[in-house]
């Protein structure tokens, strides 16, 4: 019994090691560099020396950055919840329904567009000379073109659109593993459709929703290209500020401390999501196929 236990540990360590070791190896220098750079007192990218937490103090007390962090977190939660609500039924239908190959193609479609091309596409759709305005004008729902681009709503829409596929695919992969017999069993026990959904499907698909939400949240909170290009002046998401410090102002120490703050927030939420998704796991392990 003892020998079996020991070899089980080795087994798990062996399974984990390629991934963990390679990530540690590859990321250790970048993260160490990031941490070290964030502790320099200077405001530039060269001639750096000394230790100071001055940039962290600024990152955590300056209202511009705190407000941006709060706002970005809120936006990310909105996008995450939105994509979860829309993505779950779509993922379910993609796993169970017909035309699966086509659905997968359409789901992956937004992911294939390079960011800048994606932006150009949205400009063509939402701009004052764009598709949406032409349609609304011809239907007489508007009498002159309205600016749909450049605002918080647009940024959230485009971010949601870009990251929705991740949620759908995540749900789809999990639902595909749920034995259809369970749903039929529930139906045969006179459970109506909503009860089946609520009591059987959602709990079983929960890990998928959680995984998808984690990915969407992390991607949204660190997005900077889309908000920069489609947000106009009013939307200042956190990663855009990081970009400004690292690439434009070349204040690497401050940029690094902002990055680490962002990393901490994102990982905290990832952990919260994991805890939220964990409770029914024990049971579902026994019920699923």
């Amino acid at each position: 019994m003892k020998r079996l236990a020991w070899s089980r540990e080795v087994y798990f360590a062996g399974l984990l090691s390629p991934a963990v070791l390679s990530v540690l190896l590859i990321l250790s220098l970048p993260i160490a560099w990031l941490v070290r750079i964030s502790l320099y007192p200077q405001d530039q990218s060269y001639d750096l020396s000394g230790f100071s937490a001055v940039h962290y103090i600024k990152a955590l007390t300056d209202d511009l950055y705190l407000e941006s962090l709060a706002r970005t977190t809120l936006y990310s939660l909105i996008v995450t919840v939105g994509t979860a609500i829309i993505g779950f039924p779509l993922g379910y239908a993609a796993a169970r329904g017909r035309f699966r190959r086509w659905k997968i193609f359409f789901i992956v479609l937004p992911l294939t567009l390079s960011l800048i091309v994606n932006i150009f596409g949205w400009i063509m759709i939402l701009g004052q000379n764009g598709l949406l305005n032409s349609v609304l004008l011809s239907l007489h729902l508007l009498d002159q073109p309205r600016q749909f681009l450049f605002g918080v709503g647009t940024v959230l829409l485009v971010l949601g659109h870009t990251y929705l596929p991740f949620q759908i695919l995540s749900v789809m992969s999990v639902v595909a593993q749920i034995d259809p017999m369970l749903e039929e069993a529930s139906a045969s026990l006179r459970g109506n459709r909503w009860v089946t959904f609520r009591r059987v499907i959602i709990p079983l698909a929960r890990p998928g929703i959680v995984a998808g939400s984690t990915i969407v949240f992390i991607l949204t909170i660190s997005a900077f290209i889309i908000p920069q290009l489609i947000g106009g002046t009013s939307v200042q998401m956190y990663a855009v500020l990081v970009f400004q410090q690292m690439m434009t102002v070349l204040n690497w120490p401050f940029g690094a401390s902002l990055s680490l703050v962002l990393l901490a927030v994102a990982l905290t939420f990832a952990a919260l999501f994991r805890i939220a998704g964990r409770t029914p796991e024990e049971q579902t392990g026994a019920l699923a196929k």
Partner: protein, 350 residues
């Protein structure tokens, strides 16, 4: 094609290649050397390939590798590869040039190293041999003549009520945006030290803004589609739009034109110094200047260049007179103050 046909073609090609081989037998000075330089992308890179890479290959046997990306990412790459430089020649703009020089990334060259240096406009070389300018560009007013009936004369005209929601400008992440701040400040009683009047003007323009972007590609697209009708944009790009048939007009603002330069700098520690100097000589030549002006309408930095009449009026800046009349920008102060300006912008313009 069938196998035998393929075979014949292959043999013919081989014979052709062998026939040419003796002609190339003579050794070129830098045969086999590879140079890495950062580029811009698109048409400008095509010009560099034609005017720089090809002649260098033919004359000296140098292979030039142009790495796509932004000036900022190239700077970051150069900063992190000092022991084994990622670039042999670094292309920089006004701001990164100064940062690179301060960081000890680049080396000064002399007219003895790069003979064409003597042909460059002297007020285009603020850091002497640290960076050799190979094109100049300006931002000017651009407006759509189909929709904007009264011409624009000044940057502050962008605040005109008839332009509501149809104005696009650069934000302070773009070097063009920085220039607009300085122009507005200096024209309204301020200076580079006191940019208050500049920000006041921005606030006036704000209600008209569709967007304040940092990406020229976006501004280009918006102007092209008529989404924005008035802008502060690189004159070369506006000319490219005009060539495509977009009804735009360029106007020199009352607040004066201020030039931006792009430089070629020798990277410290490069393993192919001799070849790199040849590249710098070629990139600052009259031939390259002319090709750039023809292709993307940027201003030549080589004094000996005479532009043909059909593009003379369209290229800005051009001519000793115009260049002498452009107020200089104290880029060192810009580098020091920019982060404060950007924060101010973030607070005020949201």
């Amino acid at each position: 094609m069938s196998l035998s046909r393929f075979g014949i073609c292959a043999t013919a090609l081989c014979a052709l290649a062998l026939a040419h081989a003796p002609a190339r037998a003579q050794q070129k000075e830098f045969e086999g050397t590879k140079l890495v330089v950062n580029g811009f992308g698109g048409n400008l890179d095509d010009v560099l390939v034609e005017s720089v890479s090809k002649p260098l290959k033919e004359q000296y046997g140098i292979t030039v590798e142009i790495v796509p990306g932004s000036v900022a990412s190239a700077y970051a790459k150069a900063m992190t590869s000092r022991a084994n430089p990622a670039f042999d020649v670094l292309v920089t703009d006004d701001i990164t040039l100064r940062s690179a020089a301060k960081a000890g990334l680049i080396e000064e060259v002399s007219a003895a190293d790069v003979p064409n240096m003597a042909q460059l406009y002297s007020n285009f070389m603020p850091l002497a041999g640290y960076g050799l300018p190979f094109f100049a560009s300006v931002c000017a007013l651009a407006y759509n003549t189909e929709h904007v009936k009264t011409p624009l004369h000044a940057l502050s005209d962008l605040a005109r009520p008839d332009l509501k929601g149809r104005v696009g400008i650069f934000n302070l992440e773009s070097i063009g945006g920085v220039v607009s701040l300085i122009s507005l400040a200096e024209a309204n009683g301020g200076s580079i030290e006191n940019v208050e009047p500049g920000f006041a003007k921005f606030k006036e323009i704000k209600p008209n803004l569709a967007t304040a972007t940092s990406a020229p590609a976006e501004m280009y697209n918006l102007l092209q589609r008529g989404e924005i009708w008035a802008s502060w944009f690189w004159s070369g790009r506006v000319n490219a739009l005009i060539d495509q048939g977009v009804p735009l007009a360029l106007a020199v603002p009352k607040e004066h034109l201020r030039g931006n330069l792009d430089f070629a700098s020798l990277v410290k520690g490069t393993k192919s110094r001799g070849a790199a100097l040849k590249l710098m000589h070629q990139i600052t030549s009259a031939q390259t200047s002319l090709a750039i002006a023809r292709s993307v309408y940027f201003g030549p930095t080589n004094k000996t260049v005479t532009l043909p009449p059909e593009i003379e009026k369209r290229v800005l800046p051009y001519g000793a007179e115009m260049i002498a009349s452009m107020p200089p920008v104290d880029w060192d102060t810009v580098v020091a103050k920019r982060s404060g300006w950007i924060e101010r912008w973030n607070r005020e313009m949201r």
